[in-house]
Amino acid sequence: MTLRRWLWMVGCITCASSLRAQLPVTTGLSLSLAEHRVTAGAGLERSSGTMFGLWATTTVPWQALEARASLRAGSLGATDGSGVDRDVGEASLGASVSVSEWIGLDAAVVVRRYESALAAQRWVWGEVGLHARRSMLEDALKLSAGLSIMPWVSVSGISRPDLAVAAHSAVGYTAGRLTATIRYGLERFDFPARNGVRRLEELSSLELGVAWKIR
């Protein structure tokens, strides 16, 4: 390793250490009830199951930016004879910036992997979105809803979708350091037709979470 790399590493560790001492950090666990639907010319395939997740958020020193990292993994079992069971793993990094008291902008990068007995597929996309939020009951209750688009999606083995959008709605209730959340999300990917067959995919999930504000 060159001297320059060593210096970069030392600098990054120093910055991370100093930020670690200042940043507020919240971590949480989640349980998602997910349903995946896809049609690619062979009829509708439905699978559903449970995903477990870990996530952490922090608010960076300039306060307007909230960063979030999450991991989710689970199994979706076929709900009819035409489908196949698959495992799902997902990692995401995102950030939110407040535009006003009620409005914020979101951006995220998501990597997801579906793996079944037949094949494995990796999804990578970047998304940007807009959300509205409202605090109630002295900030104890927070409601939010948002829309996102995925302008850049890469799916292994198939072409990019020509429509990729998502919507979410969430409620969080905070008591002291503890926050209970429920989040509903729907992702839709419409791929261009190939040989007269159009592939459509949709993932709906209801995520129940609990978070603890570490500092």
Binding site: L33, L143, V171, L186, L206
Partner: protein, 348 residues
């Protein structure tokens, strides 16, 4: 000039001179009489001094009369008319018990007769000293008393028109004395600012002769300027209750977000996939419940706890500041000097 003409001129001069003298100010006549006394033109001095003491001379002040009586007594003393001298000295003492003969000015013979007059006259007098005041409880009132003989003195302070004395004090004295009163009432508290009357009764220890005098005075206090207490401005308070519209707007927000969740499968989802709506329905129910709960809680009590606490803190701070101001004022008042101002001399 014939004897008759001289007599006519003399009579004319006398007749003309009387009105001229009568028109002169008593102070001027007194000064002239004193000069004549000092020049030992005693008969002429007596004429002028009697003019000052005459009851018909309404322009003469008490002080001028007293001075005239002193010099009349002294003049008669030098003229060998002892009884007249003593009589004038007594009349002088009755009007002003503080009068005395200065040894540097008056002879031993005059002072001897004055002493005789003091023995025969029993009077008590009171006068305020011209000083800058005193701190009640830490000094003596700025009053001076005098009795012409050894006497027991009883003095009481009361409000004019009241019979109940606020303070009573007694002592024994002969000649000039200061009062043993420390300026506090019977409860040990300061007299409020206002007008008071001091009734002094003296009883001679030798023959039980007594005399009384009343002295009216104003009580005031000289202290550092006091701070004004602060008035509380209600505009400095934060709103403690939310307007009713907040509850409605939160309900509306909850319902709007619930509607959004309900709409997502239809608007965002693809119709061909016929995606599940269960998640959306659950989410909408939770969201709407949040809005309804917020609405109900705000309707039940729309107080703003943070503002209520902050307002309580501001009120407490205001009370504390006023308490401190009152404490500082109390210290200044405790150190205030009592000032006694006579309002009209004494009366018997």
């Amino acid at each position: 000039m014939s004897l008759a003409r001289i007599a006519v001129v003399a009579m004319s001069l006398t007749v003309l001179a009387r009105p001229a003298t009568a028109q002169r100010a008593p102070g001027e006549v007194l000064s002239r009489g004193v000069i004549l006394y000092e020049e030992l033109q005693l008969e002429r001095a007596v004429v002028l001094l009697r003019e000052v003491t005459s009851p018909s001379n309404t322009a003469a002040t008490t002080s001028e009369r007293v001075q005239a009586m002193k010099y009349l007594g002294a003049a008669f003393s030098l003229l060998g008319q002892r009884d007249s001298a003593v009589a004038y000295f007594r009349r002088m003492l009755e009007r002003d018990p503080f009068m005395d003969l200065d040894p540097a000015v008056f002879t031993a013979q005059e002072r001897q007769l004055f002493a005789l007059a003091r023995q025969r006259t029993f009077v008590v007098g009171v006068r305020a000293l011209s000083d800058t005041g005193f701190v009640p409880g830490q000094g003596r009132v700025s009053l001076r008393f005098v009795t012409t003989q050894h006497a027991r003195v009883l003095a009481s302070v009361r409000r004019p028109g009241d019979t109940e004395p606020l303070a009573t004090f007694r002592w024994t004295a002969e000649g000039a004395s200061v009062s043993p009163w420390d300026g506090l009432d019977q409860k040990g508290e300061r007299l409020p600012v206002g007008r008071y009357q001091l009734d002094v009764t003296a009883t001679a220890t030798a023959d039980s002769a007594s005399d009384t005098v009343a002295f009216r005075f104003d009580v005031g206090y000289d202290h550092e300027p006091l701070e004004d207490t602060l008035t509380f401005d209600p505009r400095s308070l934060l709103p403690e209750r939310r307007p009713p519209s907040i509850a409605r707007s939160q309900l509306a927000a909850g319902i709007a977000l619930a509607s959004f969740a309900i709409a997502v499968p239809t608007v965002i989802g693809h119709g061909d996939l016929d995606g599940t709506r269960k998640h959306a329905v659950v989410m909408a129910g939770v969201t709407a419940s949040g809005g309804i709960a917020s609405f109900l809680m705000l309707r039940r009590g729309s107080g703003i706890p943070a503002n209520i606490l902050e307002n309580a803190r501001r009120r407490e701070e205001h009370v504390r500041q006023n308490r401190d101001i009152r404490a500082r004022n109390a210290v200044r008042l405790a150190a205030a000097r009592m000032v006694i101002t006579p309002t009209g001399g004494d009366s018997r």
